[in-house]
Symmetry: C3
Subunit: 109 residues, 3 copies
């Protein structure tokens, strides 16, 4: 058994939950904040058999990978600026940090 600690963005958290359930991988979710990101993130605690670690990592990568997205920035309140300035900008979303940790014993009661 290994313990995976996966820190992902809140926006990817629901999809990751479903993908893990589909793969019959149990996870526990913690609501977390921080890193350099101001926005909330979610930490998944996953207990998994050694031979399924690569499969779990692949699911996390596929679901949460950092990617570019176009976003319309909030309207500029400065009246002297032309509203036509509000064009979409490219931002990075997603991303996951995953720690694979050894386990000495695993029990279910």
């Amino acid at each position: 058994m290994k313990l995976l600690l996966a820190i992902v963005q809140d926006k990817d958290s629901n999809l990751l939950s479903s993908e893990l359930i589909d793969a019959n991988i149990r996870a526990t979710k913690l609501s977390t904040t921080g890193g350099f990101l101001k926005s909330g993130n979610t930490t998944f605690i996953v207990g998994i058999e050694d031979e399924r670690v690569p499969e779990a990592l692949k699911i996390i990568e596929k679901t949460c990978q950092a990617r570019e997205q176009f976003m319309i920035p909030p309207v500029n309140m400065d009246a002297t600026m032309d509203s036509s300035m509000s064009y979409p900008i490219e931002v990075q979303v997603g991303g996951a940090t995953v720690f694979v940790m050894p386990i000495e014993q695993f029990h279910r009661f």
Copy 2:
């Protein structure tokens, strides 16, 4: 020292806290969700001397072990059904998942 990560049902969480305090075992509690369970659960982080690991496991097992319980299901809103249909059903409650993890250093400041 070992670190125990114990995921238990919310309903067993207060009793587990008191039992650990009685045994002079320090624990930190995280509010968590998920697994296949929809209901909330609590994750305990316990730092414990190697020789007391079996004792801590026994306390968790005794307090949180999965067990059957009779429960009266919520009243059926369908008026065509006889209210006498609300008889107690047996459900499984409790249960704990525990990871025992190695620690390389432990510090108290």
Copy 3:
């Protein structure tokens, strides 16, 4: 890489966040409760290169170390007691519990 799990008092949590950011150390924060303390505390998950572990520990120690502080106890509601009884008392605040844990794999997606 190592994973540091640092449990600190809420009152030291913001300062610790800034000090870690200053040192370019990424941390994820969990809101936690318990131990023998009734008050809330915060658990930091820090992923850090082996050679920077002592530096991270020093930051946690410097920021969160247990120390004495004078506090004016809440006003005594018992009208028979003289209000001059409300003199400052010395209490212990702060303190940190830190686990340094091995990591087998570390991934960023």
